[in-house]
Symmetry: C2
Subunit: 216 residues, 2 copies
């Protein structure tokens, strides 16, 4: 549909403007996507807490309704701006640009964008991020990369979350990693539990490294 194409082309241009702006600010920008309930907010909160003293993190949170996630992050002392999308199933570059302007970006090293919980719509919308991070929780089933290929294919990083529930959920780790490798060709893969902290160090070390590259 031409209307749709024109909207996407407009978004692509605004996303590149965001990318340039964020680069000038020496920010490492993450676009975190997943199904509803994969643990995005807890993952972002624990990432930020563990980076404390190394990297300063700010967050833009998108949701159809409620500011629960923003409130949870704010309670942990994290600078956060909420975007309420109403019925829109993804963030776009313009929403992110406006929301980011409400943060004091000169005091941040990393900007994390928590997208709307959805494995379809956000795939088409570049936000100007450096890293698109897709989460897959062990309770969702191993086949999700195969069933939502555009989202998983476009990811730079794939994070298997809630690893503490792997045994209870009967998670087939080998199958999940095979499926991730098949669809998320380009992705670095991490496995962790934000709840127990297991695997979090490798992930935060990776961010420190990537931020150093961005700021060079």
């Amino acid at each position: 549909m031409s209307l749709n194409r024109s909207l996407l082309e407009k978004n692509d241009r605004l996303a590149e403007r965001n990318r340039g702006f964020f680069r000038a600010k020496k920010l490492l920008v993450l676009n975190v996507v997943s199904a509803p309930g994969s643990g995005k907010t807890t993952f972002i909160r624990e990432t930020t807490v563990r980076l404390s003293g190394k990297l300063r993190v700010g967050v833009v949170v998108g949701d159809l309704a409620t500011d629960n996630d923003a409130a949870q992050l704010r309670a942990a002392g994290i600078p956060v701006v909420q975007i309420t999308t109403g019925t829109v199933c993804h963030l776009d570059a313009e929403m992110v640009s406006k929301a980011a302007a409400q943060l004091d970006l000169d005091k941040l090293d990393v900007l994390v964008i928590e997208n709307v919980g959805n494995l379809v719509c956000p795939a088409d919308y570049d936000l100007g991020e450096d890293l698109r991070v897709v989460l897959l929780s062990v309770t969702e089933g191993e086949d999700k990369p195969l069933k939502y290929p555009p989202m998983f294919h476009s990811a730079n990083v794939a994070v298997v979350t809630k690893s503490d529930l792997a045994q209870a959920a009967g998670f087939n780790r080998k199958q999940a990693l095979t499926n991730l490798k098949r669809i998320s060709h380009h992705a670095e893969v991490f496995e962790l539990s934000a709840k127990t902290g297991d695997g979090m160090k490798a992930w935060t070390d990776y961010l420190v490294k990537r931020r150093t590259e961005t700021a060079e």
Copy 2:
């Protein structure tokens, strides 16, 4: 947007046509929606197996890609038709009409439509169902009804799934039921584990009762 409105109005008309057609066939029709990985396919398979000898169930399955779910249902001896949507994040009435025509509907009592795993897009699309059934797994968090109000508000039935994982996931049952009651005003609520069978009888008894009403 007028284009969007016109598409939705067209869908609403086709959905009513489906509704009339299904009524004439004395079918009880379910539209099962949830986030990716809430357990729709296992829930539908176990529902069908437990209804065996009482009600004959056929399934229409929607997915962006793969026919994994259809294959899983077919392996259990269930008549099933797959719809592959490509990049479309929901089923619509026309897709369902075409897919249902591939089933021998005169030999069925219940038609279950497994929608694309998504808590946003399917909310706007009536398929001509009698019951919209939304699933919420205990591993997703108690706040999902608040965060995806259009989907949960439009549901006739809300099913809390994977109850066997409630303890491991630290599920706050009371909070979840409060949130469901707040958004899914009209919904009957069931709590169950398709894996262990716990709570499945109340659900299948309900379907038997509803199908009797439909066929009267």
